[in-house]
Symmetry: C2
């Protein structure tokens, strides 16, 4: 079978860049990025090892694209006018709600992002962007505290870590049957903004 014939068959089987990325992220999350070989990816795609290089130059490029998928979503949230205008406490609640939505809409991508430890320039860059996002949140928390809307006795950086710790922990157990992103965000905001205690 010629190379052209193979790739044409792959296209028919749906191996556009989007499905390659989606399948690769599934394999990364299952085996760990470091534990995944190009052979593993080829096997998951149902193509030969040489054909995989037609779809993608390498593992690291797929990782970069996958992490951007998660990070771009979060940065769209903080760039939205709802995140930049109005009372800080409302902006914070909106950003938390939208982050839950991104996490659920892009679950495998966010799951992968949360496992990144900085083992390569690609991972380092993703960590830098995560920290930038965290700084945006910490700043919002600080503003809300300065407005007198958030309890002033908690360190904004700590509130950010605890609040997004709660958001991110959803990746550990989320299943569509357990409710919509909006229901989940409602419950999360009730607990963290208004408290469980009556």
């Amino acid at each position: 079978m010629s190379h052209m014939a193979t790739t044409s068959r792959q296209r028919k089987r749906g191996h556009d860049p989007e499905s390659v990325l989606s399948i690769a992220v599934g394999v990364f999350n299952e085996r760990g990025y470091d534990g995944t070989s190009m052979e593993d990816l080829a096997r998951a795609l149902g193509v030969t090892k040489s054909a995989i290089y037609y779809h993608v130059p390498g593992k690291e490029q797929l990782l970069a694209r996958a992490l951007d998928r998660a990070l771009d979503g979060l940065f769209e949230v903080v760039a939205d006018p709802c995140a930049t205008t109005g009372p800080a406490i409302e902006r914070l609640a909106w950003v938390v709600r939208q982050s839950v939505r991104i996490l659920i809409d892009r679950l495998p991508y966010v799951t992968l992002l949360l496992r990144v430890r900085g083992n390569s320039p690609t991972e380092q860059q993703a960590l830098d962007r995560r920290r930038e996002f965290d700084r945006f949140i910490a700043h919002l928390v600080k503003e809300a505290a300065a407005d007198g809307e958030i309890r002033p006795d908690l360190d904004p950086a700590l509130v950010t870590r605890l609040l997004f710790g709660t958001v991110n922990s959803i990746t550990e157990w989320y299943q569509p049957a357990r409710g919509s992103a909006d229901d989940l965000a409602d419950a999360l905001l009730k607990m963290t903004f208004d408290g469980l205690r009556v």
Copy 2:
């Protein structure tokens, strides 16, 4: 060098069962349990591959011991009279506080526990014990809601997941310089029980 001489030297270098376990857990957390070989463990302990079998029959036995270290801590918490007598809301707050303490005191063991996915009978057993712990918490939440002390509009199982999602997320960023277990538990309880909003 004879086998006896080697093991005697290892003992002098401090390879009692406790330090073997502690070093092994460090390697499991760094490389992943599945990605860790007996050779990796021998290297980390600074012993030959044959000498490692003097210290431990195999990887899975170390995993079982490590997971028990985390789970036994959590089960001591829920067996304490403070967790079983008194108003449910106070018991819940106490269990959350003590769980933060266990998480920080036994950080590498809890970190390992949270990564377990059930890939072996040992992992399956650990997951079963985690679920038993979760059921205890969900029951406490339910009782506190029945007492009218916790908002009744949230599903107890969801509250349990969100609350312990917040607790468990501490493993992602905790450093001793960031405060004591008690300070951290204070902040976490303020956010989740009383809410961030003033």
